[in-house]
């Protein structure tokens, strides 16, 4: 589904077209869910947030024309996920979740697995990597979405990929 087709589906949503909702859901469920999961690290919570995203999208579809419908939906998912994490008791006292690092909780061999490698990244870097690779958003769109300079996004992305390579290489780099 390209940008124009997605725009058309969103227009159809304004007419309460459920088949349009289903098509958008099937098209975006995997990358959106992956990004939410990277932020929350909790499958149940992530599914709840995914539901919330599509319920909101159905009830209040954006007024066309929007510049980038794909980025709009990812922005919605990202904001809901970040808000949900902030509400978790363990992060209640934190102003920012960007520097949280989810260390692997089990044995070190799990470092070989990409999911666990991703967990070794600070949350903000993990989000940038996931939004760019899974969400296929441009760096400029990610910078706008996360309200940080483009140069910072580029640097953090480079650094994150370097770290992931290092973890996946098992120290061979």
């Amino acid at each position: 589904m390209n940008k124009d087709e997605l725009q058309l589906k969103l227009v159809a949503l304004r007419n309460r077209d459920r088949s349009a909702l289903e098509e958008i859901y099937n098209y975006l469920k995997t990358p959106v869910y992956t990004i939410i999961l990277r932020i929350t690290q909790d499958k149940t919570l992530s599914e709840d947030i995914l539901q919330e995203v599509f319920i909101k999208l159905y009830q209040l579809p954006p007024t066309p024309p929007i510049k980038n419908p794909r980025a709009y939906i990812f922005q919605m998912a990202h904001n809901l996920a970040v808000d949900s994490v902030r509400k978790l008791p363990q992060f209640a006292d934190l102003d920012s979740i960007e520097n949280i690092v989810y260390l692997p909780t089990e044995d070190f061999s799990m470092k070989m697995d990409i999911d666990h490698a991703m967990k070794t990244l600070p949350s903000q870097e993990c989000q940038i990597v996931s939004l760019h690779i899974n969400g296929e958003l441009k760096f400029r769109e990610i910078a706008d979405m996360m309200d940080i300079p483009l140069g910072t996004v580029l640097w953090k992305y480079q650094r994150a990929i370097g770290r992931l390579r290092s973890v996946l290489s098992g120290g061979a780099l």
């Binding site: 459920r18 909702l21 289903e22 859901y25 469920k29 995997t30 990358p31 869910y33 992956t34 999961l37 992530s46 599914e47 995914l50 539901q51 599509f54 319920i55 159905y58 009830q59 070190f108 061999s109 799990m110 470092k111 070989m112 697995d113 990409i114 999911d115 666990h116 991703m118 990597v129 996931s130 690779i133 899974n134 300079p149 483009l150 140069g151 910072t152 580029l154 640097w155 480079q158 650094r159 990929i161 992931l164 390579r165 996946l168 290489s169 098992g170 120290g171 061979a172 780099l173």
Partner: protein, 274 residues
């Protein structure tokens, strides 16, 4: 002071060979053949650098012999570049941690946020630096480029900290003729003892790191595969792995979305739904 800055900036521009901002091109997209590396360099200058090129400099002061520093290349891009040249004898390759396009983006951000705003930021450029009259590049090779920001000495450490936090190693802050490091005062390059101490620390760290990785004899993945050897994973494979690691939500989620929509509609307008 201003005179020195102007001279340094001219030097930076000459040595670093600036490129057009934001423009990118991939090797595969270039279908024409170039007679030599100088012609390819001119093409990049006009049409923009690819994202995997860090910088280009003259190997021996002659424009026929250029060294191209590549970002995260395992040899593939270097071979592709050679294949574009009818005569590839003048091209050499090295490694760079940052692409020219990334540095250009950072440079433009710093210019738009600080230059000409009475922030005591005097100039911003991409390239090498002159310290104590000696021109030096960056990185292990001493040939890499960075975004070099000349600031007033009075706030140099603040800027070094700030830019490091925002952009990491891609930015080098300089005041007068010395590089300023984060959380330190301006450090002149001729401080031999400081450099020696630094080199000793790096050497010890390298030995510790080597020993630590050497003792990793076997690892087991989640799926039970035993890995007996550490093998470098390429950037491309890392990105593919991230892409392939996407997770699909359970099938019930969409049904739950529909049922919640139904409930909310009934709640909102019960008469129309009944």
């Amino acid at each position: 002071m201003k005179k020195i800055i102007v001279v340094l900036m001219v030097l930076i521009c000459i040595l670093a060979i600036p490129a057009n901002a934001f423009a990118t091109s991939e090797v595969s997209e270039v279908d024409k053949k170039f007679s030599n590396v100088e012609e390819l360099f001119e093409y990049w200058e006009t049409n923009g650098y690819p994202d995997y090129v860090g910088s280009v400099y003259s190997t021996d002061g002659n424009m026929n012999n250029l060294t191209v520093l590549l970002v995260n290349d395992d040899g593939t891009k270097a071979n592709e570049i050679r294949a574009l040249l009818a005569d590839d004898s003048g091209v050499s390759f090295g490694k760079a941690p940052f692409s020219h396009n990334a540095m250009e983006t950072v440079k433009n951000e710093i210019i738009s946020n600080h230059l000409g705003k009475d922030d005591k930021v005097y100039s911003v450029g991409i390239g090498w630096i002159s310290a104590d009259g000696v021109v030096i590049g960056f990185g292990e090779s001493g040939k890499e480029s960075r975004v070099v920001v000349f600031v007033d000495e009075s706030i140099s450490t603040d800027y070094a900290n700030k830019f490091y936090e925002l952009y990491g190693d891609i930015v080098v802050v300089a005041a007068g003729d010395a590089i300023v490091y984060q959380n330190q005062n301006a450090v002149p390059d001729n401080n031999l003892w400081l450099w020696l101490t630094f080199m000793v620390i790096i050497s010890v760290a390298a030995i510790l790191f080597f020993n630590r990785t050497r003792f990793v004899s076997a690892m087991q993945t989640n799926k039970g595969i035993i890995v007996t050897q550490s093998v470098p994973v390429s950037r491309k494979k890392t990105i593919e792995a991230i892409k392939n690691s996407e997770v699909t939500p359970s099938d019930e989620v969409f049904n739950s979305v529909l049922s919640q929509i139904d409930k909310k509609q009934i709640k909102r307008c019960p008469l129309t739904e009944v």
